[in-house]
């Protein structure tokens, strides 16, 4: 039996509370009735059709969270990011959380079937719900499948604002996800654990990708250098010199931040050639976080 790393009761409670504030009472009654039926072991079809029908009852407005809600969320499940959800996503998640979970095999089979017949919005809701689901280590290949999706919305649902990949992906799956984020034009800063999961193989993949982009005379996202900095070698420093030479200020800032992360004296020397940037990094004014917020 796997460990539950999330307090389901609280996730359920808080989702239900938010919905009670934001959808019509009749819709909430419908939802509660379906949750009851599902939790009491109603035939699979009840779950599937209710799951699909959710937006007909709830609409698709953005979920509105207060500052207190944000704080509560972090306590319930670190990294969970419902602040970017819509009300139908929240309601669908509640339905998934109503499924009986004791019989792992049956539970996982139902989940696999609902993934297998899901539309875009349903896939987004399911992948974003991963951090709340029991048997987390059983969802690795499903999550990797989401990373392979050609639908950016679905890819983003796994990769961005989701603690699951950093916690459960091996390096191979992780590295593919980060590289693909750049490839499809998604930002890197909403990837949770982007700094913690940096590794030399990923750094090399990213550098190779930058070279490919340059060869094709295409632009390179400055965020590419974020997981690279701490693994700089002499060749990388040559690349960073090229990034410094880019007229765009964000490119220079990214190069400076990458240098600042490197233990190499040569990297520090390169950074010293840009005293303004070096100063703002030392003063804590320029960080990858501040960089992402202004980007």
């Amino acid at each position: 039996m796997s460990s539950l790393i999330v307090d389901l009761t609280s996730a359920t409670d808080i989702l239900h509370y938010w919905l009670s504030q934001q959808i019509a009472p009749e819709s909430l009654t419908w939802l509660d009735e379906k949750r009851r039926q599902i939790s009491e072991g109603a035939p699979e079809r009840v779950f599937f059709t209710a799951f699909s029908a959710v937006p007909r009852y709830t609409g698709k407005k953005d979920l509105e969270l207060t500052y207190q809600d944000w704080q509560a969320v972090e306590v319930i499940r670190s990294g969970w990011s419902p602040a970017y959800w819509s009300v139908d996503q929240a309601a669908r998640t509640l339905l998934v959380l109503s499924l009986p979970q004791e019989d792992a095999e049956k539970y996982l089979r139902t989940l696999e079937r609902v993934f297998g017949a899901a539309d875009v919005g349903e896939l987004v809701a399911l992948y974003q719900a991963l951090p709340l689901l029991p048997y987390p280590e059983q969802h690795r290949s499903r999550a990797a499948e989401g990373v392979r999706s050609n639908m950016t919305a679905v890819f983003n649902a796994v990769a961005l604002r989701n603690p699951y990949p950093a916690e459960y992906f091996d390096n191979n799956a992780w590295n593919q996800m980060v590289l693909k984020a750049l490839f499809v034009g998604s930002p890197l800063h909403p990837i949770q654990g982007i700094d913690r999961r940096a590794n030399p193989e990923l750094a090399q993949m990213l550098i190779d990708y930058a070279h490919e982009r340059w060869a094709a005379q295409r632009s390179v996202s400055p965020e590419l250098w974020r997981p690279v900095g701490q693994f700089c070698d002499a060749a990388t420093l040559k690349d960073l010199e090229r990034v410094f030479a880019n007229p765009e200020p964000v490119q220079k800032e990214a190069a400076a931040l990458a240098c600042s992360q490197s233990p190499l004296p040569e990297a520090q020397a390169l950074l010293a050639c840009h005293p303004d940037l070096q100063a703002s990094i030392q003063a804590g004014n320029l960080t990858w976080e501040s960089f992402s917020q202004s980007a």
Binding site: R45, F48, T49, S52, A53, P55, R56, K60, K61, D62, S86, Q89, G116, A117, A118, D119, V120, G121, E122, L123, V124, N150, M151, T152, A153, V154, N156
Partner: protein
């Protein structure tokens, strides 16, 4: 002018088509579930097809600023494989209630066999039970009799004609369809269905009430710009603009919005979540320069 193409098989089309469709003013499309040009051999390929109608194709259209809806059903050709048809009927309830599924369709007759009739009636029953609209495919051969019988079956199953769209009409079928209160859709498809000059005359004669123009563009010799081209021809040949607007936009919207799954603000003012997820950050809907253009004039491939 904004256009809706309420019958087009986009799975068979390229992204280039999406680009020129959007440039020509098409803002929304409906993709009815049909066959693929050759019969399927397994229910799993139906499931993958349905998945693409509610997933990948919806997303792909969104990248070009076009709203994509679909209809789900077992088409009459493949209904003839009874073992497979049974499996598909089992699968339908999983898909028909999904977001953006505006009708059960396209269903009806191909060879008018008993098996076709059986699954047509079962699906009409499902539509009645779920209070859904129906899109009827009328047969290529024996069209007049097939159209009459399709409408008979709808009435027998207790469906309201205002909730049924009869498609692929021609000069021979239109009168009965309109007089019985159904929506009459016309497919502008070279050689086998309607030509657009004929369509101009149909609208001149019957007016614009409950008449809908579509392309049914698919993997055959067809034209994804049938709707805007027909609109242009109608204007050129003296059909009042209001009538053109009705048959190339408003009537399709009125018919299919009865489903509760399609409304004008889906493309004029989409929900924030859809703007984030379905339109891939593009700005077409806000009337700005599209992020992708067909680039017909350029030799450069960058």
């Amino acid at each position: 002018m904004m256009f809706i193409d309420p019958h087009i098989h986009l799975s068979a089309r390229t992204t280039y088509d999406y680009m020129v469709m959007r440039e020509s003013g098409i803002v929304a499309v409906i993709e009815p579930a049909f066959w693929l040009g050759q019969p399927r051999t397994s229910v799993n390929t139906f499931q993958d097809y349905f998945n693409s109608l509610v997933g990948w194709e919806r997303f792909r259209a969104g990248q070009f600023g076009i709203r994509h809806y679909c209809t789900i059903g077992l088409n009459p050709k493949e209904a003839n494989n009874e073992a497979l048809a049974e499996d598909v009927m089992e699968l339908l309830p999983l898909y028909v209630c999904k977001e953006g599924v505006v009708a059960i369709g396209e269903i009806g007759y191909d060879d008018m066999t008993q098996t076709e009739d059986k699954y047509f009636c079962q699906q009409l029953e499902l539509a009645k039970e779920l209070d859904m609209l129906v899109l009827v495919h009328t047969p290529h051969r024996n069209k007049k009799a097939g159209t009459s019988r399709s409408m008979d079956r709808c009435v027998e199953q207790g469906l309201d004609p205002s909730q049924v769209i009869i498609d692929h009409n021609n000069e021979e079928t239109v009168e009965e369809v309109l007089s019985r209160g159904f929506w009459a859709a016309f497919t502008i498809y070279p050689h086998t269905k309607m030509g657009n000059a004929r369509m101009v005359e149909v609208v001149r004669q019957y007016g614009c009430n409950r008449i809908i123009v579509d392309s049914s563009a698919d993997w055959g010799l067809s034209d994804p710009l049938s709707v805007p081209k027909t609109a242009q021809l109608m204007l050129k040949r003296g059909i009042p603009e209001a009538h053109v607007q009705a048959v190339c936009y408003e009537n399709a919207l009125a018919a299919y919005s009865q489903s509760g799954q399609m409304q004008e603000q889906d493309w004029t003012n989409p929900p924030a979540i859809d703007q984030r997820q379905m339109f891939n950050g593009n700005t077409i809907l806000r009337g700005q320069k599209p992020t992708v253009e067909s680039g017909r004039e350029s030799l450069l491939i960058e």
